[in-house]
Symmetry: C2
Subunit: 650 residues, 2 copies
């Protein structure tokens, strides 16, 4: 109806008037007004009795119902011919709906009586699927290929908008706290091992050197796995006191579920972090729970402020002023996990503590403890059926007590006999009494090294399995209150991380990264070389059993950093090379500093109540790293590779 369409062109490419409103903005206040809307047209509902048809017009702000009189020949005919999901521009007058036809929401009380329709762009009648029909969606792979249609679904686009909202809250809070956002390089240096990092071939400037002849060596950047070194160097510079970045990071981890080759961190670093106003807690506090005994007090404050603000604005939930704190030791002992889900009970009980006389005589038991979970028929009724039907794994024993087995279960247990071969029926009685066991109770039994290592124990896994089964059975409805938790005082070094072993080759590894400062109480042990005794000033932030962030106070002493590289981790010069600038920066008046990185994708998945981070990323890759939309990765011509001095392997 407006400027004439050019004949040879299929879509409307000539001028057309501006929208006056979005499809989500009309309300009864607009009744009687003439409006222009643009959006996607959804299927017709014909009302033959009144000679009219209803259409929904949808844009990213909402949906408005259109009313077209069949007598309005031009408009109705245009709409009749328009395939669903085409974009149209309509003009008409806003009408109040009859009271009984009003629906909830802004636009639910009005229709637009259309008198003019311009087809802006016809959709093919051959759409791979109709995003407006959420009850008939194809599988995830097909939707990934046509992500531009999947994103038209409100459920997905709401996630993308919420992500933008949260990112802006983060920035507002941090700018308000005097943070400076600094972009650090994505193109960094490849480290000698090259594990988990993506390489980026670069043209070698030296290769144009004729004296090099055919010996030119290809060179590479590596994509930043995290801004760890740049942000530490930035804080060492003193150029900014408080740094943050919502940073894109890259890791080449194939085969990990729900990981993306590129992901986003909320990354912070602060100079002059300390132990806070009540510093440091007295040594006696070591026995107390819920005490922050390490440095990085200011990081904790900032993160709690930030998280509280997000949950308030997005979820309408008021979180506590400070989050609960638990040491790694306590978390492993009570929950069998370094990211415990504290929304439910089923805590782990230490049986060795009940059998001191036994452990005194057996040397085998001194560095091993026996522990159990009791699922009580009466007290844990929501879990008991899930427990009955849970399998556990080879390292746990699962016993359902009967009146008959009550007196012998411990004596007959393989796990208990392994740890305490000399047990007798008196011990059985002591344990039964202490645990207040009854017939019908379920017992999960296992043993483990006394000093906890790694991320979880056998009973920690069994505990989660029972919980998940109880939930999926519908027996247990978990609280909606988010359980935030700080885990602190991790061991600084580990030999138990399979992911790190292929680089460590039997040497110590850093539990998190080699820049984490030891607890100051453990510095002497560090200098004595007793790596296993050193706890780090590391903190993980855990939400409902999911680690959503981790950070630490960093080492600012170059001698200490060098000692760890050289004498604990036993790095050779090639391995140390990528850290040389950091060591030197520490020598040039580096301030004490610390920071944290929060997993933005994972936080968004929790806020959007979805189990997959692909639902909160506009254009994600599949679990195998394949991009089904853009069809990448893809092969490249030999000629292009030659510019970088590389070729396919032969």
């Amino acid at each position: 109806p407006h400027a004439p369409r050019t004949i040879s062109s299929k879509a409307h490419s000539a001028p057309y008037p501006d929208r006056t409103h979005s499809c989500g903005s009309l309300s009864p206040d607009n009744a009687g007004q003439r409006v222009i809307l643009a959006g996607w047209i959804l299927p017709e509902r014909k009302m033959k009795t009144i000679g009219k048809s209803f259409y929904h017009l949808k844009d990213s702000y909402g949906t408005t119902q259109l009313l077209v009189d069949h007598a309005q020949g031009d408009s109705y005919n245009t709409l009749l011919q328009v395939p669903v999901e085409s974009t149209v521009l309509i003009e008409g007058v806003v009408e109040l709906r009859p009271i009984d036809a009003r629906k909830l929401g802004n636009t639910g009380a009005v229709d637009v009586l259309v008198d003019r329709v311009t087809l802006l762009n016809a959709a093919t009648p051959d759409m791979p699927f109709l995003p407006s029909n959420p009850h008939n969606l194809p599988n995830e792979e097909l939707r990934a290929r046509y992500r531009y249609l999947d994103l038209r679904r409100s459920a997905l686009s709401e996630n993308i908008k919420k992500r933008s909202q949260v990112a802006h809250i983060v920035r507002n809070v941090l700018h308000g706290l005097d943070f400076t956002e600094v972009e650090t390089p994505a193109l960094l240096r490849s480290s000698p091992e090259g594990a988990r990092e993506f390489l980026v071939p670069a043209r070698n400037p030296a290769s144009s050197d004729p004296t090099q002849g055919s010996q030119r060596q290809p060179v590479f950047y590596a994509l930043s796995q995290s801004p760890q070194q740049p942000k530490q160097l930035l804080i060492c510079s003193g150029g900014v006191d408080r740094y943050f970045q919502i940073a894109k990071c890259f890791r080449d981890e194939d085969g990990r579920k729900d990981r993306q080759p590129e992901f986003t961190q909320i990354d912070l670093e602060m100079a002059f972090v300390s132990w806070g106003k009540n510093q440091p807690p007295s040594p006696s506090s070591a026995d107390e729970t819920n005490v922050w005994r390490i440095g990085g007090y200011q990081v904790r404050q900032v993160v709690e402020k930030l998280v509280r603000k997000i949950w308030k604005e997005v979820q309408g939930i008021e979180l506590p002023e400070t989050f609960r704190v638990m040491t790694y030791y306590e978390a492993m002992t009570r929950f069998g996990s370094d990211k415990p889900d504290t929304r439910f009970g089923l805590e782990i009980l230490n049986l060795s503590d009940l059998l001191p006389h036994v452990s005194d005589v057996s040397s085998a038991s001194s560095d091993v403890i026996l522990e159990c979970i009791v699922v009580r028929k009466s007290g844990d009724s929501a879990f008991i059926k899930a427990s009955h039907t849970s399998g556990g794994d080879a390292s746990t024993e699962h016993i359902t007590l009967t009146d008959a087995t009550r007196k012998t279960w411990l004596l007959e247990s393989k796990a208990a006999s392994h740890v305490y071969p000399d047990m007798n029926s008196e011990d059985q009685t002591i344990v039964n009494k202490a645990l207040k066991l009854k017939a019908g109770d379920d017992i999960w039994l296992s043993y483990r090294p006394r000093v906890p290592t790694g991320g979880s124990t056998a009973l920690g896994k069994a505990r989660l399995q029972i919980f998940e089964r109880a939930q999926s059975r519908g027996d247990y409805i978990v609280t909606k209150d988010p359980h935030f938790l700080w885990i602190t005082e991790f061991p600084l070094f580990t030999r138990d991380d399979a992911d790190k072993e292929h680089l460590a080759h039997g040497r110590w590894s850093s539990s998190h990264h080699p820049f984490t400062a030891p607890m100051w109480q453990d510095i002497d042990a560090l200098y004595r070389g007793e790596a296993e005794k050193v706890r780090g000033q590391h903190y993980d932030l855990v939400l409902n059993g999911v680690e959503i962030g981790g950070g630490s106070v960093r080492i600012h002493d170059s001698a200490m950093q060098d000692l760890i590289f050289t004498h604990i981790l036993k790095l050779d010069d090639t391995e140390k090379f990528p850290f040389n600038q950091l060591l030197h920066a520490l020598q040039c008046g580096a301030p004490p500093h610390g920071g944290i990185a929060l997993g933005f994708d994972r936080i968004m998945a929790i806020l959007c109540n979805t189990s997959s981070i692909r639902d909160v990323i506009a254009f994600p890759k599949s679990a195998s790293g394949t991009d089904l939309l853009f069809k990448s990765p893809a092969s490249v011509s030999r000629q292009v590779l030659e510019e970088y001095g590389i070729q396919p392997q032969q």
Copy 2:
């Protein structure tokens, strides 16, 4: 003085108290207060007469003067032994300075009388350079190696902070205008040509397929050169109506001055952009200047609002409500540049317009025009000396008029004779009269094709050369008012872009990118295949002769997009392959849309009044793409390369 330092550790790693203030926050209001500060210690100034010493303590917020009484043995002795640039924690009492010793700024009116000093981290006495001494800085290369020291200089750290401030203004403005910030992938698909893009080798999932044997083909992602396709697909989805992103982009352009392999764009895209409220301007407006005749009206509005807000907040400058608009044709004709610097005159004059009778008879002249710049001895006195001493290049003729040459300069000109071999002295008189020439005036003369192509003409370059010379001579002081300017109505296709020719191989190239919509008035010409006649709905934003952004209304008609790929650009199927998903998205009800990308680094360089974008990037690379701090790019072991199925070229 606080918790004892561990002997074996060089830096202070034990608890210490919080700062009460930053070094930039004290004022006379704090007089008499006991404070704790932390920062970098600068050289001593000893006042023997009063038995005291002054030190400056600096942190990223500012500098506070410390006063230490030599009688305060412990504190003074500690400070005496502390190397410059060490980090220290001091305690003391704020004192008002004597009136005659007060300086400007927050902290200039107070000292802190120090009574306690804790050395947090000693700097090496062997610093590569002292950032606190800006008058004695080493060369840029050395400073790049020790960027963590260079960033300690206030000049540099202020730039980094201003960058953060501007990014936050951008986000606040755009969120306020209902934009959604969406992260698009950095890892995209490599296109068949692979020009200018960085490759990222990926593990080939197919390579674990045993049936492939040794024929496994290496595969690659490509780093995003810009979010162009993802953002268009996002808008085509309808999931968001207005997208933005402060986006990291990657281009492998070696040898370009002041370019970085990774750089940052402020990237926008909007659905349903149109011609605005007064759409479209009447055809007669084609002769008027300062008229926006293309679509994308909303993009223009948003960008002007954004830029006005930045200049207001950061520079305190109130920019006009709307920026000047100039067509490409006008810009090339009057200024010889598609990014004209309009802060000064020296406009180009068309001599062919003065000689219609000549051009009527000469067929050679019909597609060539003769033009000149006149630098007037009296009117352009600031430029005349610069003009006298400017060289020009082979394609310009430079004549300084004398009374003698006044009557023959045109007749004797090689350029004029080339275009108008039949000229006579009457023509000379006509031109002299029209130009009001006087002895002492400088004339720059050149000819060019009547239809302008490319980014600049010979006289456009000469004009800039004269301007720059006049500035560096100190003859001309350019206005501080920023001159913002939109350039519109560019030719949609070009054969004159050397950068594109290596892919085009003699075919037409898109002047900007193949997604730009033609002006609707030129669609018929497009469908007739008259590529040279088609102007695009492209707009560049120019500031003081620097292009700071560019964008366009995009094609939303898949048939038109396909026509351009296939019949104008003559892409083969392999070349078209990376665009297939966009073509399909256009078929699925894509809305009309348009957007822009602003060069954030360049805008920041202008706002920070520096000529190098390296001064506004925390960790830049050198012009050759080398990172002197992180020592990248670097070589990688064969073993790592094998995981990606590649090896060094043999």
